[in-house]
């Protein structure tokens, strides 16, 4: 039996199918979380900076920070986790620059999303992909 790349692609395709169902479930959870935060308003870009490592040495502790000058609140979502919600930060009257740094868990390589609600009521977002490493020893 010989196999060519097309054959291997077919294998890949069937793998993708098997993961489709949970992926959809997470997608809708993400939509839900976003809708809850924005009330369905449009989300723009710019005016928000999400900083993540390009590669996370360990998915258990991934340092991230987010800053958005005129934000009144920010939500953080990790789209590849079993549950996309990460945190909601509400900035009070005595908060300085609207930034926070924290450490999050990422189950696998995925997109991290930050959406800010600005003081004028509009929304803006930033998205970063974080590659999560895979250990060498199979155990």
């Amino acid at each position: 039996m010989k196999i060519d790349r097309r054959g291997l692609l077919a294998v890949g395709g069937s793998l993708a199918c098997t993961t489709l169902v949970p992926f959809k479930a997470i997608a809708s959870e993400t939509d839900e979380a976003i809708a809850k935060f924005t009330g369905g308003a449009n989300i723009g870009t710019g005016g928000i900076t999400l900083t993540t490592p390009e590669i996370a040495e360990n998915g258990n502790t991934v340092p991230i920070s987010v800053e958005s000058g005129k934000a009144s609140s920010i939500i953080l979502l990790a789209l590849g986790n079993p549950n996309p919600n990460v945190a909601t930060i509400n900035f009070g009257p005595l908060s300085g620059s609207r930034m926070t740094s924290t450490r999050i868990r990422l189950r696998k390589t995925q997109e991290v999303v930050a959406i800010a609600k600005l003081e004028d009521g509009s929304f803006t977002k930033d998205v970063k992909t974080v590659k999560v490493t895979i250990g060498g020893c199979g155990g």
Binding site: P53, I55, E57, N58, N60, I134, G135, G136, C137, G139
Partner: protein, 282 residues
Amino acid sequence: MSFFNKIFVGSVLLILGFSTVSLADESAKLVVEGQPMITRVKAPSHMENVDEIRSGWTFRIKETQSLQMDDFENPGMIFVDKGLDLWNKVEGSKNKACASCHDDASEFKGLRTVMPRWNESANALWSLEDHVNNCRTEQMGAEPLKWGAAPMDSLIAVISLQSRGMPMNVKIDGAVAPLWEIGKELFYTRVGQLDMACSNCHEDNYGIMIRADHLSQGQINGFPAYRLKNAKLNSIHARFKGCMKNIRATPYKVGGDEFRALELYVASRGNGLSSEAPSVRN
């Protein structure tokens, strides 16, 4: 194509392409709370196959590196806090705490850098754990702490912290010489179903990637080390145990003779590097 040509082609491919991203900032300087650490230095003369020894810190990515540069950012310091609570806790039949005899542990400055070492009265090679438990049973009348468990590792972190920045200086001659030879033998002995020795990864292949793990020299100058992997302090012997299980070998006993000898040998491979405990590792 001859055998050697085949090898050659393979090597050229390895050099040319597809190498994975090097994750580490290998030239970064480690300064902890304003105190510079020695993370790269000429190898001790007993090491035949390595010119320069390097702290495990130099193999980590910059985000992990930065966690160790500030004591607030370093999650290992949580365990130092817990260790200090334990330090001050009165226990045992003699109603004493560590602090009853040793105040704030600063008298142990330098101790970490010479451990493990020969204890004349016990006629045995002692690790820091033995000092802790000897005090507990003899001076406090308290139960010994379990080797590799959180309370022990936290206390050891408190004691080790007193030596932070000082170069490791483990003695390998005199009474410990035969044990050092045993440790060296263990370092180079292949074990387990994967049939690997410590040296296969940590001497022959450090600096390159095994999947996404950046192989280090396996130095222990930063132990106990907070690992992101399990979010706690890890003792030297617990780390040895984990490595052995990874290569599908039956680990030696934590606190047993083999790991004591291996600790002595591996510690001596780090002579000259700063003691960093509690360090932060992957």
